[in-house]
């Protein structure tokens, strides 16, 4: 049968207008930097420069923290929860209204397929604001006092540092609960994906959010490090690498600053011989090739029961042959661009190591564009537990396949990493799902599904995948104190 060809279906970029140069959002206004520098953000699919962005300096950070403190002690702190909530509802609605604009901008700046920006990132970001809006006047009902009899109170100024893989969505995971609980925020988006955060600042203006409640400081890792160490910050919320997470944990040791850390992962996606194999294959593909594998909870290790391994791998390769890799702005694209040259280098390096350590490499047949950063979906078989591609987070479209014979062996292998963020189970046997879910040391377990997210559902890891939860009632805990503090 001839391969079904798709006609190009490009999304228009006319819906966005990108300012050639961008300041910082402090105290409700876009301002020039005091002591910063500037850098360029590019479209990773074309290497085209999209805009010039400010790298906030220490004086800028100081100014933003002061603006946040002023808002906390003033207009925002004095506001009843019900009114606070209305601002969050407004923001949710504005994100829905401008969803197309956000989706296109996210894809341009990040490289992810427009299908994902449009159907996942932006709707979920709006949903996070809508969900948390309702909490603002119901914190007393959230069970946060732990029987202490004391009302939950906001912590103050929260410093938030987010990654580049889901820029607006991670912003919403951070800002929505912080504001719902009555805190104010200084947020630093990732160096490579600052544009939707700057557009979000415009949404804050459109919502008439009081000045200083949300401050956006674009910058580099250095900016983030300064923000985290700023003495005026009461709490840190970070999503990113385990290495930086440990550094944050060290930096707040011996202080009363708090942190929630959402870090790396090396999730096992476990397929039993009685699974619905075609559904499992879809789940494997979604688990590791969704968002180019730039997902901390990605199912980067496939653990497949030995007696069905050949069948599963054969069907997986066949399915990967149909993935459309290329222009992220094309509505039919499944796998977009790698976010940056640095990340591409990291993926290449670890993949080469996988090969040199003895694993068998297979690359999906696809034609990659000439410009931009690309990496074809890759599967390693014959992987053993000690291989670096079975232990380290690749954060790219690279799957390591291992096999097992018994459920006990699957559990032992799945848990055998320093991480504990997520895991997947594929079997038609209900009792086995529940037993496995109990045994897996991971914060999120997807059974017969993978990579599902919802604002009501707590997300976060065990062990070196960090601490604290985001989303749901549990996510509020990180943004309040009941004065108990041991």
């Amino acid at each position: 049968m001839a391969k079904f060809e798709y006609a190009p279906a490009p999304e228009s970029r006319a819906v966005v207008s990108i300012r050639p140069s961008n300041g910082l959002f402090i105290g409700g206004e876009f301002v020039e930097s005091i002591d910063g520098a500037s850098f360029k953000t590019i479209n990773p699919a074309s290497e085209e420069v999209l805009a010039e962005v400010t790298e906030a300096g220490e004086a800028d950070i100081d100014s933003a923290v002061r603006a946040a403190r002023k808002a906390f002690e003033g207009s925002w702190g004095g506001l009843p929860g019900a009114e606070r909530g209305k601002y969050l509802f407004r923001i949710a609605r504005l994100l829905q209204e401008r969803a197309r604009e956000f989706g296109v901008l996210e894809t341009l700046d990040n490289g992810k397929p427009i299908k994902e920006s449009r159907d996942v990132d932006i709707p979920l970001a709006a949903a996070h604001f809508f969900y948390h809006a309702g909490w603002a006047d119901k914190l007393e009902h959230a069970g946060l006092s732990g029987g202490s009899g004391r009302s939950p109170k906001p912590l103050g100024v929260v410093g938030q540092v987010i990654p580049w893989n889901f820029p607006l969505l991670m912003l919403s995971w951070k800002i929505a609960p912080a504001l719902a609980a009555g805190n104010t925020v200084v947020l630093k988006p990732s160096k490579t994906t600052p544009l939707t955060a700057l557009l979000f600042a415009e949404v804050c203006q459109q919502a008439d959010l009081p000045a200083g409640v949300v401050n956006i400081l674009t910058g580099t890792g250095r900016t983030g490090a300064h923000l985290i160490r700023h003495p005026g910050v009461d709490k840190i919320a970070f999503t990113g690498s385990t290495e930086v997470g440990k550094d944050i944990a060290r930096s707040i040791a011996g202080t009363r600053k708090r942190a929630t850390l959402e870090l790396g992962g090396k999730a096992a996606n476990i397929v039993f011989d009685d699974a619905a194999i075609d559904e499992a294959v879809e789940g494997i593909v979604n688990g590791i090739f969704f968002n180019q594998g730039h997902v901390c909870c990605a199912g980067s290790r496939l653990l497949v029961q030995e007696n069905v391994a050949d069948d599963v791998i054969m069907r997986l390769k066949r399915r990967l042959g149909t993935l459309r890799v290329g222009d992220p702005m094309d509505k039919n694209t499944d796998v977009g661009a790698i976010n940056s040259a640095a990340q591409l280098a990291r993926i290449r390096e670890l993949s080469d190591i996988g090969e040199s350590e003895g694993a068998t490499r297979w690359t999906a047949p696809c034609v990659l564009p000439e410009r931009g950063f690309w990496f074809a979906p890759t599967v390693f078989t014959e992987v053993s537990q000690s291989h670096r591609i079975a232990q380290e987070e690749v954060f790219g479209p690279v799957l390591s396949v291992l096999t097992f014979r018994t459920p006990q062996e699957a559990v032992a292998k799945a848990n055998n990493t320093p991480y504990g963020l997520s895991a997947g189970i594929w079997t038609e046997k209900g009792s086995r799902i529940l037993w496995m879910a109990d045994q897996l040391r991971a914060g999120v377990v997807w059974a017969n599904t993978f990579n599902r997210f919802d604002p009501t559902s707590p997300f976060g890891g065990y062990k070196e995948s960090g601490y604290g939860r985001e989303g749901g009632r549990h996510g509020l805990e990180g943004y309040v104190t009941t004065g108990a503090d041991q």
């Binding site: 029987g147 997470g245 440990k246 550094d247 011996g254 320093p418 377990v445 017969n448 976060g460 041991q486």
Partner: protein
């Protein structure tokens, strides 16, 4: 406690030293460590003098070492799976059983607490009651935590989605320096009730009630390895627990009243494997020992819990 007072566990009197009327020489107790359900001496062969509040000699306690701490972590890790997997009803009964057995030995505890903390017998008796009641309070939480802290999440899609608390793993605790029994129980019970296993470093200068508690634990239904107790120098042993890569969480309560322990350093060391850290009470860099007689809230329990969320599609 005077040597004579240790002759019997049933009369908490501060009897005069041996008299003509009572020529019997008492049999004194050797205070050892408690690791994996056994009472070893420190592998280091070291002991240190424990003195009462009037600086009178009470006993030689084992001076635990790095190796002892590591052995204790190995025991705690070994016991974790089964203890975490026990039913909540079972764990609740096991903790309640500890209270039952303490009640039977309350006189002995009162004597030791009075000697260690310089309390009157009546006051020590009250403290023992509070310690026993603390086990009962926490025992009752075992089968309620999941209902109070977990629940079904109404996700926007055809999925069943549920969150429940789980124990984080092996928890190290620096027991309070001042409150040798009530403080100890107040940090220990919230660790183990949810299924964690514990390595506890006792009060440095008041370790004897803790060792007697171990005798209760050894004869109760607490499985070997679930609670391991090290006596010794806090500043010497604590860093080995803080840096240990197989310890999931650390309670720094015992950094208060302990001049040579800097809790910031222990927290910093714990960051290497992202330990969950329960900081000592107090403001800024200070560490103060709280009033353990207050009824607890869920703060300590929650410090050692992970939330696990499970998704499954719904369909016909």
């Amino acid at each position: 406690m005077s040597p004579a007072a240790r002759r019997t566990v049933t009369t908490p009197s501060t009897a005069a030293p041996n008299t003509v009327a009572d020529p019997r020489i008492e049999v004194r107790k050797t205070y050892k460590l408690y690791i994996d359900g056994a009472f070893p001496r420190s592998e280091s062969g070291r002991t240190y003098e424990v003195r009462d509040s009037h600086d009178r000699f009470l006993a030689n306690a084992a001076m635990g070492s790095r190796k002892d701490a590591r052995d204790a972590v190995v025991a705690a890790r070994g016991a974790f799976g089964k203890w975490a997997g026990a039913t909540a009803y079972n764990r609740g009964q096991v903790l309640y059983r500890v209270a039952e057995l303490m009640e039977g030995r309350r006189a002995q505890f009162a004597i030791e607490v009075a000697a260690a903390e310089g309390l009157t017998t009546a006051r020590a008796d009250t403290v023992v009651s509070q310690a026993i009641d603390r086990w009962v309070w926490y025992a009752g939480w075992s089968d309620k935590l999941a209902q109070v802290l977990g629940g079904v999440n109404p996700v926007a899609g055809p999925y069943f989605n549920i969150s429940a608390p789980e124990p984080t793993g092996v928890v190290a605790a620096l027991a309070p320096q001042r409150s040798s029994l009530l403080g100890l129980v107040s940090v220990l019970a919230p660790i183990v009730v949810s299924g964690n296993t514990a390595v506890v470093l006792t009060s440095e200068n008041r370790p004897l009630p803790a060792v007697t508690l171990c005798e209760v634990l050894a004869t109760s239904d607490v499985p070997a390895g679930v609670i391991n107790v090290i006596t010794g120098r806090t500043a010497e042993v604590a860093p080995w627990l803080a840096t240990h890569q197989d310890v999931n969480a650390i309670d720094l309560a015992g950094a208060a009243e302990s001049d040579d322990v800097v809790w910031a350093e222990l927290e910093r060391a714990g960051a290497e494997n992202l330990k969950r850290v329960l900081r000592p009470a107090g403001a800024g860099t200070d560490a103060v020992e709280p009033d353990w007689s207050r009824t607890p809230d869920l703060t300590r329990l929650k410090a050692y819990l992970e939330t696990k969320t499970v998704w499954h599609p719904k369909g016909r």
